[in-house]
Amino acid sequence: MDLRFTEDELAFRDEVRSFFRQALPASIRDNIVAGRHTSKEELVTWTRILHDKGWAVPHWPVEHGGTGWSPVKQYIYLEEMSQAPAPAPLAFGVNMVGPVIYTFGNEAQKSRFLPRIATLEDWWCQGFSEPGSGSDLASLKTRAVRDGDHYVVNGQKTWTTLAQHADWIFCLVRTDPDARKQAGISFLLIDMKTPGITVRPIQTIDGGKEVNEVFFDDVRVPVENLVGEENKGWNYAKFLLGNERVNIARVGVSKERIRRIKELAALQRVGGERMIDQPEFREKVAAVEVRLKALEMTQLRVLAGEAKREKGTQDPASSILKIKGSEIQQATTELLMDVVGPYAMPYQSEEAIDGRNEPDIGPDWASTIAPAYFNTRKVSIYGGSNEIQKNIIAKAILGL
């Protein structure tokens, strides 16, 4: 057992770090530091920079543009990216539908879709959740009925993040209404420009409009856009959700945020002294740091175990990553709220700030903090709520 990085891994980290330092546009970085959203244009720009370097989809098989890095190197890469901080590549493409396509798709689908995912020429979104389904995903109702060379899709998806930018959506649809819940589901790729698709934004409590409802009204989808076998979609979805759970710990994001907390607490004065100098506050931050370090080590242990697991199966221990990762993300936004104090109150949308000449209300770093606090409540809900994760651990690991 040796938990230190090897010389080779350390050299790799330096290489990645210095590439990011040199290649990441300052404006993109600054936006992230300030807690603001990355725009579509910024993400495309950044993805192309990574692609030119050959690093857009490092975890993919080499034949599809992957790098062949070890899991540890992939981890280092992602860590460095979150701490640059650089925007994460669009997960719906590179982490979700991409791996489904190269694992279960046919050759035509691979050559048609994978290159355009890697370069973000196609912006993908996810059509899994429905208003009635929630944690009970398999209860979905959107129907796809075979009609010649097409499926005709009717129904509604929700919580579709960034659908407003999307060229494509990957959907779970019910193709056999008579089969047992999980058995009649298929995995369809749908062009967002197809007639009959309507996108309606849902305003979230942070003021954002990044999630949407997507309505399907007699949408005709060519059968060639079916991934794998009809009625086997649930398997592909489970595979996809499993991949999602590993990345969801967001250790790098939380680390970056703790640095930010310390930086801001050094600017903030409470009762005449700097907040960062108050032992109570320092200890509160340290307590979160401890939990985060433990999570990082747990993440590494799960990663190390991955290598030995059967391909495509999921370590149920990765549910720990989801639970603790989301709790820690939430704890960091609570600390930010502690730091900012009363100037969390003004509501200033990004658009409003961009459009005006006057200075911000309060410190210029304050306006994104309450929205981040509100928004981060979602991380214990999405991707399989923390209650579902606990059910998984209870059943799969504890045998209860």
Binding site: I205, A344, I361, R377, K390
Partner: protein, 384 residues
């Protein structure tokens, strides 16, 4: 010891709750918020008609002479409906200053107008550098003949953008963080030298940053004695905190109710999610927090009007710490148990979550008040 409401109090409670039920549902509230002022003048007039705007003022000043319990009843109901109108800013805060420190002329000039709804005031007591310390006053008032010239910046003035008049704290002596040397002045909101930068707050209400540049006021603008405003400010703040606690309890109650409703109707895995024991226990945690908060709000309401400033401070700080902590627990559980819909503006629960988060912040968050309580040796002492 008696926890019952009097007949009049019960009537007050029923009438305000009925008004809000009829005219302040979730849909109606969205409409009330669309005007420029960010709230409904129509509702404001109805509050006036119901006597709510006169409630805390003494009868001899044109008020109704309600006490802490009456304020608690009204604020709790307002919390339940998430009202947008400046009741807290104008009646509780600015009105509180008038009640405690206004002279006869000032009371006669202002209170009847406030009570009938034609005059709104705001209390500009905080400053950008001061965080939660209201004695951190850098705004100055310099003697100028009979009157004063005021210069400075006031922060987060609740409903300061739509107020007709402002009560401003300014330093007439001493150093920035001294408790001595602070004075209070009434100024017209559109007086020369007053710049108001109004904005919405996270919870859909309004506030303003206010710059005062050589604002001239006459001798009659001074409220109370020169340089001796701190006891007034601190007393008004303590009463205000008790009122905020009551508002929070109104919110918590509604959050708990909405969550229970959701648990009982939302179906997953072939059953209502309220049948899952783990979720039941978390709904119980919410309920326990709600009841503990209610208890502390009663306690703070009772003591916030007392004359012993230290006892008062201990009680309201304890209550505010409890409310802040409960706001975290109840907000977290309410959103989590609602799942995705709890994250949207289209369901009420998220609005309550945002308001209670702001209620934690207003007049000092749980950390601030726990620290204050600890500095005052806590609630349980050798002599208590």
């Amino acid at each position: 010891m008696d926890f019952d409401l009097s007949e009049e109090q019960t009537m007050l409670k029923d009438s305000v709750e009925r008004l809000l039920k009829d005219q302040y549902g979730f849909e109606a509230r969205s409409k009330h918020g669309t005007g420029e002022a960010g709230y409904s003048d129509k509702m404001w007039n109805q509050y006036a008609e119901l006597g709510l705007l006169a409630l805390p003022f003494a009868e001899e000043d044109g008020g109704i002479g309600g006490g802490a319990t009456e304020t608690m009843i009204v604020m709790e109901a307002f919390g339940g409906a998430l009202i947008l109108e400046p009741f807290f800013a104008s009646i509780i805060l600015a009105g509180g200053v008038l009640r405690h420190a206004g002279n006869a002329d000032q009371k006669a000039a202002l209170i009847p107008a406030m009570a009938e709804g034609s005059l709104k005031m705001a209390f500009a007591c905080a400053e950008p550098q001061g965080r939660y310390d209201l004695y951190d006053v850098e705004t100055t008032a310099t003697k100028d003949g009979d009157g004063w010239v005021i210069n400075g910046k006031k922060a987060l003035v609740l409903h300061g953008d739509s107020a007709d008049k402002l009560i401003v704290s300014a330093r007439t002596a001493g150093n920035a963080r001294d408790e001595d040397g602070i004075s209070l002045f009434i100024i017209d909101a559109d007086a020369e030298g007053v710049t108001r930068n109004g904005y919405p707050t996270q919870d859909g209400l309004r506030a303003a940053e206010i710059t005062l540049q050589s604002v001239k006021v006459g001798p009659d603008a001074l409220i109370g004695s020169e340089g001796e405003a701190w006891p007034v400010i601190s007393r008004v703040a303590d009463e205000a905190i008790a009122a905020l606690c009551a508002e929070a309890v109104g919110c918590f109650e509604k959050m708990h109710e909405l969550t229970l409703e959701y648990l009982k109707t939302r179906s997953q895995f072939g059953t209502t999610i309220g049948s899952f024991q783990a979720l039941q226990h978390r709904a119980v945690d919410m309920f326990v927090e709600l009841e503990q908060s209610r208890s502390m709000t009663m306690y703070a309401s009772m003591l916030a009007t007392g004359d012993d400033a230290v006892e008062r401070a201990r009680a309201v700080s304890a209550a505010k710490a409890q409310i802040g902590e409960s706001a975290k627990v109840i907000g977290r559980e309410a959103v989590q148990l609602h799942g995705g819909v709890g994250m949207t503006m289209e369901y009420a629960i998220g609005h309550y979550f945002k308001r209670t988060t702001m209620l934690d912040i207003l007049f000092g968050d749980a950390n601030h008040h726990l620290k204050r309580l600890a500095q005052l040796d806590g609630l349980i002492r050798e002599d208590s």
